[in-house]
Amino acid sequence: MKIIACIKQVPDSEAKVKAEDGKVSWGDAPLVINPFDEYAVEGALQQKEAHNGTVTALCVGPESAKEALKHALAMGADEAVLVSDAALNDLDTVGAAKVLAAAIQKIGGADMVFFGRQTLDNGAGLTPPQTARLLGYPMLGLAGSIKVEGSAVTVERVLEEGRQIMKATLPAVLSVVQSIGEPRYPSFMGIRKASKANIPVWSLADLGISAPAAVVTRSELITPPTNTREVEMIAGETPAEIAEKLADKIIAEKVL
């Protein structure tokens, strides 16, 4: 079983993100593996263990993104590949999908390609289905559990209306959600292996493609106004008295 886990590097969720000169700035906050993609790596490793497979972690990004790949290696991925090229500055989601699809083809395809549900920075969640469409693989999105039997894969998708059970034939693209299971911590051995790993870097020329032109572009970055309103604490002698006052406040807000 050949498995690829696609990951991205993003500023840590605790980072104070600001708009500075029209660019996004996160100060000296650390860059980490996209938290949603940790679930993708976890899902990939579960399948590797169940079906005696190999996991390749794949990332499109700057040289610094090797750290995110090392995290995947430390968790237990077998190999890692970084696609990095100076021409890849303004990728939109479909551009990222085009580069990933080309890299997956250069790897020689895969039985399963894992993604997280979305990224922390852009948050669109478009790249997984777009990669599936470009590869011609079925898309099994928002999987909360996965079962593979022979060449058949069955997933439970977590949708607004409940869980949908969907089946397809491998190869397939999957995006996973938190129900897949907590991402494992890197082991001591894994961290040692990852720190010594030599991660190959592929350019666009290696993939045989030119930089995809961005269709979606940003025209303005805005820092939203911060909440400066003071909280009004409701107190009283008894729960009933507090509830009485709070109910009046809520009704006065006219939101019921």
Binding site: V158, L221, I222, P224, P239, A247
Partner: protein, 337 residues
């Protein structure tokens, strides 16, 4: 200006933000609703009543269950032949995939989860939150048609005029499915946090009531879950009274108190109800990014220093097992229910 509006539904139940998309489309010009599925006449009729100038219906057994591939091919074929300027969708699990895939076929881009969309001559400028709502960006799409998914409750919902008649045109399905739908798991009931106007959420605190004695024979973990279920029963009762939905923090989900579909926050749902009542939730950043755009936030927590109070309009320092039922009673009385 011609806009397609994709009406997202599950077995005939329409995601209400579809109508909000229809209202937005009308503000730009002609709005053509798209309804895909099997036996979807009632959805088409509703689209007319909500103001669609025309409804295109692909009613086909191959579209009975939503599958990304067939739906995307059907949509792309319609867009190629009818050349809309804009295709609008409500933002849902299905439409993110559908828009993403048909944009690949149509060689254009998708603007997702929009809170504003303005026409600018022939093109559009969209506003959306990024970095978990820490920033907003304005974006444009150079491709045609422009494809955009709108956030639920960010745009006004048009009035429904019942009995209104309009043009409904049959169109054909396209594409080949790459998967089969085996069924739906009944273990989790529908949770539509995205369009709930009111959400009452519970956190780890719902399991913290030492006064409750669990049935004999339970181990510690079972007793904790049992206690949490008593807590969530109080949360649910308040939500029901207000016609709202039940949310949860990740600690409550991880604790096995309630299914993942209820989770609000970074790795759950991002919501923006008119009223959000947080019960026994500390207010970690990953939870706050999911709910801080609610109009009115009420926090009930034992700990006066809990960070949730910094985001709240109203706060109560107290035990949720006392405050929540008292609030339900007080509201019941005052609302005459």
């Amino acid at each position: 200006m011609k806009t397609f509006v994709y009406i997202d539904h599950f077995k005939g139940e329409v995601q209400p933000a579809s109508w909000e998309a229809l209202g937005l489309a009308k503000s730009f010009g002609a709005a053509i609703a798209l309804v895909f599925g099997k036996s979807v006449d009632a959805v088409a009729k509703a689209a007319v009543e909500y103001g669609a100038d025309e409804v295109l219906v692909a009613d086909d057994s191959s579209l009975e269950d939503y599958r990304a591939e067939t739906y995307a091919s059907t949509l792309a074929a319609l867009a190629s032949s009818l050349n809309p300027n804009l295709i609008l969708f409500p933002t849902t699990a299905r439409t993110r995939e559908l828009a993403a895939m048909s944009a690949v076929d149509l060689n254009t881009g998708v603007l997702t989860d929009l809170i504003a969309l303005e026409a600018n001559g022939d093109s559009f400028v969209a506003t959306r939150p990024i970095y978990e709502g820490k920033l907003m960006e304005k974006i444009v799409c150079a491709g045609k048609p422009v494809m955009a998914t709108i956030r639920g409750r960010a745009f006004p919902k048009p009035e429904r005029v019942s009995g209104k008649s309009g043009t409904v045109t049959k169109v054909t399905a396209a594409g080949e499915a790459k998967s089969t739908v085996e069924g739906y798991s009944a273990s989790e009931s529908a949770v539509n946090l995205g369009d709930a106007g009111i959400i009452v959420s519970g956190g780890r605190g719902v399991s913290n009531n030492p006064a409750l004695t669990p049935p004999a024979g339970m181990d510690e973990k079972q007793a904790e879950v049992w206690r949490a279920q008593q807590g969530f029963a109080l949360v649910t009762e308040l939500a029901k009274l207000l016609g709202g939905a039940v949310g949860a923090s990740r600690a409550a989900v991880d604790g096995g108190y309630i299914p993942y579909a209820h989770q609000v926050g970074q790795t759950g749902k991002v919501v923006a109800p008119d009223l959000y009542i947080a019960c026994g939730i500390s207010g970690a950043i990953q939870h706050l990014v999911g709910m801080r755009n609610a109009k009115v936030i009420v926090a009930i927590n034992k700990d006066a220093d809990a960070p949730i109070f910094k985001q709240a309009r109203y706060g109560v320092v107290g035990d949720l097992f006392q405050i929540v039922p008292a609030l339900t009673e007080a509201l019941k009385k005052k609302l005459g229910k």
